[in-house]
Symmetry: D2
């Protein structure tokens, strides 16, 4: 922590600031410039976290020196984390596509979709049994029945399954059925939920919140990891900005930043990023070009009749062309489709 004082700070104020810091077991180092005094803190910065240093008399600015996340930081791991997902790994050289409808609707649609996406190269299946909907009057998901359908379709297709969990009370149940647990954008800072999924042995797909910075996202991952579950994938899916041409603003730069900051796999969700079916291809290609380890894509046999998110869902033909289109981009990054 570095503390910059105000012009005209008094010696008494400086002493008071130093006492506060030293009271937490750190040492201080005072540097006197031409107009300002700067106080450096030497020792474990985490101990200063709850001190309102910015509010002490004479303080103008406080700059942290250390990253607030540890387990999620690149330095923590000798090499990129590879996460087992069914029979494959996410975070290795292969780029993994996980596809499926927004909501689990019924056995037939799920089987048809699983068969199709699998035949075109998808390596995992997505589908929501518990759905976070903005309106209480919208379809909220099939719940446990949806989980059973997912489980049966996994048996049928061999595809591992990722599905969202929204409630601490459901974590155990969902973890029984799913190969990976999705924490959605709206729950990225639902800390009890992060803690609970951190206590399972299932990989976690953590989506970035609509107003979360990259740092916030990694702190959310840290919550999960601090409980012992190191298998976290972080997912860029768009942030909220003033632009209305897209449902969210896909923050492409988050992908290479995350690849630099963390050893965890980085997934992109071009469906939510765009919110428009006609942009999914371009965003998916770009995400791969920028270094994503995987993609989460919404696909439905007939998007017009999908129970949710139909506006951003690809039909089979579009998904096929997406998978064909992705290959040369994967190759251009020196990787291949898993």
């Amino acid at each position: 922590m570095i503390i910059v004082t105000r012009r005209g700070v008094t010696e008494a104020e400086i002493d008071h600031i130093r006492e506060r810091i030293e009271g937490q077991g750190l040492r201080t180092h005072v540097s006197r410039g031409e107009t300002r005094v700067v106080i450096g803190c030497i020792g474990d910065e985490a101990r200063l976290q709850h001190l309102p240093l910015g509010t002490l008399p004479g303080v103008e600015a406080v700059h942290p020196v250390m990253k607030p996340y540890k387990l999620a930081a690149m330095q923590f791991a000798a090499e990129p984390t590879r996460i087992p997902f069914g029979s494959i790994e996410i975070g290795g050289p292969g780029i993994v596509v996980v596809a499926g409808p927004c909501s689990v609707e019924n056995m037939e649609v799920m089987k048809e979709t699983a068969d199709f996406v699998s035949s075109k190269g998808a390596r995992g299946l997505r589908g929501g049994a518990f759905k976070p909907r903005t309106s209480p009057y919208s379809f909220q998901g099939l719940g446990k029945e949806g989980l059973e359908i997912l489980s049966e379709v996994r048996r049928h297709s061999g595809l591992p399954v990722v599905t969202e969990v929204m409630d601490t009370r459901q974590v155990e149940l969902v973890a029984e059925y799913a190969d990976a647990l999705q924490v959605g954008a709206r729950n990225m800072q639902n800390f009890p939920l992060l803690t609970e999924v951190g206590r399972t042995h299932r990989p976690v797909l953590l989506k970035r919140g609509m107003s979360a910075t990259v740092k916030d996202l990694l702190l959310a991952a840290e919550y999960v990891m601090s409980q012992g579950n190191m298998n976290v994938m972080v997912c860029e899916r768009g942030i909220r900005t003033f632009e209305t041409a897209t449902r969210n603003t896909f923050d492409l730069a988050a992908i290479p930043i995350l690849k630099k900051e963390t050893h965890l796999p980085v997934i992109a969700d071009p469906s939510h990023g765009a919110g428009r079916r006609d942009l999914v291809h371009a965003l998916a290609y770009a995400a791969v070009a920028a270094g994503a380890d995987g993609l989460l894509v919404e696909v439905h046999p007939d998007p017009e009749t999908a129970w949710s998110d139909g506006e951003q869902t690809l039909d089979f033909q579009e998904f096929e062309s997406l998978m064909e289109g992705l290959r040369p981009f994967a190759a251009a990054t020196g990787r291949e489709m898993a």
Copy 2:
């Protein structure tokens, strides 16, 4: 719902769009302009909610006609909702101040704070027993012990208590101790939590999410109300923008908009809105000038030693001057401090 078609839309496309809408039991009305055809939907718009109308061939834009919330809408109630809170009401002519530390730390601080703020005109006590913290390594609250302290301090001071609940599993517990349940900004779209607090008989203080629109906030209130709990207060506490001079951007205009859109009481939180102790007075005065029914203010006997949010917490002297300062602003709006 009004559907605007693309230039050059075909009759077959128009028929297809109409079939989709009529298939949901609505009637359609086609209006042909010079370059566009517009299709109006007559009937219960809610039935169209899950249809991806925007993605049908030939569609350019879709405009909803009805508000997506009903119970929270101004039209639903004959007059503004007044919510019982201890011995007072929120939403009546009096402007209510609820004050207290960010976190419940111990009995002594809570009693001292309650006594002081009560003597200066606060009509309720705030304090977090369960704390949503960005970092897993920060203090997470005293939990049940915190609730017991709050309960004892209520007995001692007579002030009703509002405290946050973050986990569906804790709702029953917190509802036993608290006079009102706070749902924090990070949980504004934690739908299972909204549903669960909607099943209690406790008033709910619902804070606006950092990236939530006013419409999203009212839909979140609708979640609570749809479970039968009509006692919801909505709270403006700042949104996330590019400006870094403040922790959040206090969206003052949300206050008069909410007063027009809903019959629910509107609370402002100038402490989080500013994130800086030196701005709390100005934001509080402005919130009252703009029509807020109440204020939520962070106060601590010694903010420098507060366990959380010290940067934005007033000390006793500052709180006293705030309460004195508020009175003429309340009067200027034709109201008074409760």
Copy 3:
């Protein structure tokens, strides 16, 4: 400037960083913590401005210590700047209301409006002769004819006039006619224009850009002042965010921040801040409660027929109620309406 190095920085990298800084005539001060080395720069920070310090090998973060503006900073002036505007002053104890239509349309409307707003307490007249319009097909203002109307109406009503200038080539012309030159939000970083108005002897009303921080706004004021024109008023008029219920998000907190950071008068524009006529009262009251020195309000005898911005323009009756409503708020802040 304080430079924080990366974990594992080498001595050679530290030497290289120091050489760069010392090459600009500053001294350096190296502080070694447990995991990082921090390099402080002692001397005139402005000389480092163009050095890409963040990109030097071994650097993790760079924190400026000094504010980038000088003339606009609070410290520069012994007391708040008062700006002469016609026969009154802006920035003194009285709160000044400047009112009028968005565009100058014709002599009749301007005279009628000037007479009315003057009778109700406005102390200045606004009206655009040159209009920045999003579309090239919208009305662009009457130009020089508009200036002549403004000039005649000033003679007639005694009200000083503020009007926008958009083009460096028009500055001299507009300065001949107007009592104050408005630089609009879209031109807040039109640096040649800022420079040019800085060379006139007319007060400048500088509106905050839609994506400008408070710091950016003060740097724009600094541009004007660096040319010798110290009579700058800064104006909060809303920023662009994700919220669509209002045209802009009125950043109320900017008002008290500006009052702390600068000696320049702070004006609020509730008409643009809201973009909706039904919110203008609430925003105006709040702006005064938060410390604004003046208000800029759009008024028209018949907003329905106004040539621009009718949606956010008050009619005479609304303006009258606004002026009456403002008085007690001004009093509550210990001031009065000018």
Copy 4:
């Protein structure tokens, strides 16, 4: 234009709304739903532009039907516009890279850079002679001397030159020297400047403003085009959001949206989009994957000593690797590097 009325609208209000619209020469069409009345406007919507329809009694919402830009719209042109730039074309099958330093510093640096980037495949040279700087105390560019250097380096290298123009008074001068005129992000809504560059015969590179929507950007292009200059290239360079890990948030989705909405070439600026040298490769690859027609890249022989923007400027080695890296991405989109 479609007007949705409030619940409980009166017949007198409906008549009044219709009169306003019909007074502009349009016809109206009234459609009565179960709870609302909808009024459609038939005829030239542009005539309604200045009417504050949203403010008429009884009106709840107003939805435009037509795009506000015409010349820039996809429908206006039979095929994508190709813009001559030196001996090449922008907007054809080849993807064009324009590279060079942020500022023109001196002849030597420009020649060295031009020679190098040309040898690696750049097809144009960038460099600022007039620099828009946030602070009045920063280097403002060499002005006319910079233009002369650019002109000489063009002769020397054969590379066409793009350079920024900031002031209406300089347009003629800059147009004499440059092959294309850049309008920077801060001037995207400097309407007199847009008008003035629209009167030249030079191609215009129009950068998106930091708070401009895609629609705003196309309206700015429309300003230029409405003066007769159809050779406009639109450039995505990042928007302002809450994320601080990057200088701007690169809105990747704007690229495919622009490719759908307009016939104009779409350029990406990964240097400003990222603001960090270590992200430029990823953003450039992604931009090409998403369909960009060209890239604008900052390159300098020694970024550490660049007079501006050094943090985001590539050195020669990095530029070489970028150009090599781009080829397979161009091929993956079915195109090639120009």
